[in-house]
Subunit: 344 residues, 2 copies
Amino acid sequence: MSATLKDIANRVGKSVTTVSRALNDFDDVSPETKAEVQRVADELGYIPNILAQRLQKQSTDTIGIILPTFGPRFSDPFFSEFLAGIGNQAAKLGYDLLVSTRPPGKIELEAYQQQVRSPRVDGFIIVRTRLQDQRITFLSRADFPFVAFGRMLDDDRYIYVDEDGEYGMKLITDHLAELGHQRIGYLDGPADLMFAYYRREGFVNGLAEQGLSADRTLFVSGDLTQKAGYKLANELLNRPDAPSAIAACNDLMALGAISAAQDLGLEVGEDVAITGFDNIPLAEHCHPPLTTVHQPIYQIGEMVCKMLIKQIRNESLEQEQIILRPSLMVRQSSTGKKVLSENS
Amino acid sequence: MSATLKDIANRVGKSVTTVSRALNDFDDVSPETKAEVQRVADELGYIPNILAQRLQKQSTDTIGIILPTFGPRFSDPFFSEFLAGIGNQAAKLGYDLLVSTRPPGKIELEAYQQQVRSPRVDGFIIVRTRLQDQRITFLSRADFPFVAFGRMLDDDRYIYVDEDGEYGMKLITDHLAELGHQRIGYLDGPADLMFAYYRREGFVNGLAEQGLSADRTLFVSGDLTQKAGYKLANELLNRPDAPSAIAACNDLMALGAISAAQDLGLEVGEDVAITGFDNIPLAEHCHPPLTTVHQPIYQIGEMVCKMLIKQIRNESLEQEQIILRPSLMVRQSSTGKKVLSENS
DNA sequence: TTGAAAGCGCTAACAT
DNA sequence: ATGTTAGCGCTTTCAA
């Protein structure tokens, strides 16, 4: 077992208190004592017992994230990158990251309640906000620190970072309209997800601004996986009145759509334009490379984490609501033209 | 703040000790007292303070995993699925999952040391073992519980689960040889990774068994990303003596290789066969679908987690070393033949 | 059947 | 500049 303050105190012949203060560099300890204490501490390889510190402080130095997952086959590039951003930032600021996974719904909410009351974490990061988000409602009421990645409908009295999904999707409609597309299919996401909502808004409004009417029969929605993208695009492209372009609300579905088009013998970028949203690493290296909207997931992870820890520490935030403007990445899946590699 | 044992004790008019024992269902507490204590506890919404329990027990009820990551653009489907497996299993068994990310090397090892000594977790799960793995050496010496996913060279006196990568890659060479390929390129992984080692062995030995000699000039190695796969395959395919098939040591690089081939105007599955290893969800839904080797990552996550917790609890394991046989998934990227969808 | 007391390792208020 | 005392919330002897 690791040495304790008491061990050091005995060796040095001082009280535990003095040792504690010496190690924490209080200025009411004589330099000699400090030096001596430090020496012995090093010698014994002292490391503070974090459990004791936490009990004393009544804080866990840990932030939590509960990933909303459905099936076991859970593999969204978005999450691993986001997690890395949060995790690295948390480590930098001296916090641990507690990760759980729960299917959205009752079980999920119970997990929040438990973790709040235990208390197992000092604050939460919420991902994939929903139109009405119980998690946010609950944490707000409980006055428990959290930062969300994403907004909610009809309530923004909480701290969040979000991308401007509406703007992002308008970049797509502008781009497609410019290429001359008139009939554009849309691969929508689950109705209760806020990001799908904004992107859909952007799509509809973007078309309108271009003087194009949105044909609702070309709207189909799926569960954000490639599989869904494949199936939905296949249906769209098999219609007699098939669209000349398909915009997907995320990259994964767009990748599925590309496969579907190719399986039908279509040349993506030429015969049909396909676009995504997210710019996951795969987007650049698939064939053809995917035109999409970039949002800096890793940086958002860092940002959200930093804001949460500030909140936990009661430091003031410059900005409690942040909305980021994403940018368009034009690639071959829409233009058919080969683009030179973006970065070495 | 949550109610404490003391609060309950005051209300009931009993000592804290009695209340503690009542709630833990000791049999030396009268039924009436138990009932009364339980009633008041419910009324106050009592939840034990986990920090105090942990200090007392000197255990954290938490297992740790430190993900080896390089750049910020970290997005490996393998990890998110593996994490989900571990996380869900841990939750089921009453454990928390502490996730960190560190670049392999000194910083990483320091993180292990710190977490061991704090003590922040009760045990570790190690991923992506290396030929000589400092992490394993350190934890073994410290006699700290851990379970690894993967083996090590020259030392198997520790608990692990691994896939039989050599066998898996032989499935690939057999398959390619059967299709008539004689010159096969190999996209290798980093030299210090154990899984890359076994898969390479399987490739070399598999070829030998087929009476084919491995042309070392067709071996190129990269960092496991699609980007690397793209670049390496591009080089291979541009040679005058280009191979007729390319086996990649993981799916991500294989996907990159597919893009490279397609960019060169080759029909994958017809003009060149390409295979992967891992069977990530994308493999089935890319174009053409990728022939690969399947290993049940999610289940392995569960398994590893269960074994670790048993070890922590000093329960006996039926098997301390487990090696799983992966299976071949034949798809269009090698055969050129369309395969009916595997599952609905 | 119950309670008093000690202790997990640390920090902090107060006194000296 | 240092020590005494108390306390974080819980569990666990040991005694009654």
